[in-house]
Symmetry: C2
Subunit: 256 residues, 2 copies
């Protein structure tokens, strides 16, 4: 693998990986700078790892995402619970405007690149895990090639929902599928046909359609819904009838 | 839901869920006791959550699993890094002997039930996440009904492998399947046909068969293998030719 801001085929970043716990860039070469994507968990500030807290304290600069749409910065809340230092906000456009998203990613990448010029180490705090449906992926891909990128995993919303619902995700030889509802109702229906546990992200705004797919599969009564877990306005229980936040999670099990 | 040691259909435990962060059993009723399954992450002692460390320190008694087959206790290593107190070992039989496994689960459940009699709070440390292919599931199911069970999620091996490999698990509308290779090569082949990212657990002892399924799907070059991550003897890279530990993880991506 060669240094680079892009990814190789198949989802792998086409760049060297920093050794776990290494100080800055590998080999003592600091000029290119380093960005660490830090998963800060699903919302509950206590569901952050010791490594995440250490990196957020030791990095030269800490970035947090804020939504241009006015959504609260969950990642920033968790960071501020554990780290008493200034943080820099990077604005991201969510939703259905591709050009707006691209512009915000490019601007954020530019801000990070400037911050790590000369070999500094930047941390970017992101909810959940930085390698699973994370804004961090889009930011990292747009960095100039010499910047070293690595990540610290974080607890995901699906794990938090399982724990809060008193549910088992999978055991023994059971299988699990995870997909965003934005991949399409057909993809969800196919997963429900063949997987024991099926987890759906990002279905909040299309909840009536999601309910119908679950009902058609006979799994509506074998489902638990969660949104804003561990935060004000937490939703946890059966699928609600009304609208729900975009960042929602639904876990369904195969009927006995 | 009613209190009970069993699970309802669809993988949900058929028992009440303790409120997050609640001290002992909900409602101040302590006589029945409580067991908290604590995910301590994939091996690296720094990949444990603040909540896990708190629970391991505050619980009245801490249990850790040890393998009857002589495997090192990864969970115990992580506990001992952060908690300076006695821990009680519970022996579990792994492998292909169902009656041996059942006997060890029942004995472990008996030891936990005795420990929480009178309303005590026990923590059981488990590698990874207690709700994902965890020994904890089998232990919890065998507890007598009045014992309250809850869990603290933990970082999984698949998340750690992705981070160490510099890999993205999923982004945008991509889909992810997770299954143990013990579910059968046909299940893996089907998942490779229709999912963008496919993660396989427990394939170490059947690695030649696993290689063949990946090769047949055209994904062998789009795969990363990990075992003993963050521990002595860590394996990380392409699929090895030789045998590998049972607790191994393989991530594959769809070819570009």
């Amino acid at each position: 693998m060669t240094p680079g801001g892009g990814r190789g085929p198949g989802g792998r970043r086409d760049r060297p990986v920093g050794a776990p716990g290494a100080g800055h860039a590998p080999g003592g070469h600091r000029a290119a700078g380093r960005l660490t994507g830090v998963g800060v968990g699903p919302g509950d500030p206590e569901l952050v790892t010791l490594k995440a807290v250490r990196v957020l304290r030791e990095a030269d600069v800490v970035f947090v995402p804020v939504s241009a749409g006015g959504e609260p910065g969950y990642a920033e809340q968790t960071v501020r619970t554990h780290v008493d230092r200034p943080v820099q906000r990077l604005e991201f456009v969510l939703g259905d405007d591709p050009s707006g998203r691209e512009t915000s990613w490019a601007a954020a990448a530019g801000a990070v690149a400037r911050a790590v010029e000369g070999g500094a180490w930047a941390a970017f705090a992101t909810i959940g895990d930085p390698n699973l449906y994370s804004t961090f992926t889009y930011l990292a891909r747009r960095l100039p090639p010499p910047v070293t990128v690595d990540t610290v995993p974080g607890i995901t919303a699906l794990q938090d929902l399982a724990a809060r619902a008193g549910a088992v995700l999978a055991e023994g030889d059971q299988t699990l599928a995870l997909l965003p509802f934005t991949a399409g109702p057909e993809r969800l229906a196919a997963a429900l046909d063949s997987f024991d546990t099926v987890v759906t992200y990002k279905g909040g705004r299309l909840l009536p359609q999601l309910r119908k797919v679950l009902a058609d599969s006979g799994r509506l009564d074998q489902a638990v819904f969660g949104a804003r877990l561990g935060l004000d306005g937490e939703q946890l229980g059966p699928l609600p009838d009304g609208p729900a936040p975009y960042l929602s999670t639904v876990i369904t099990w195969r009927p006995a």
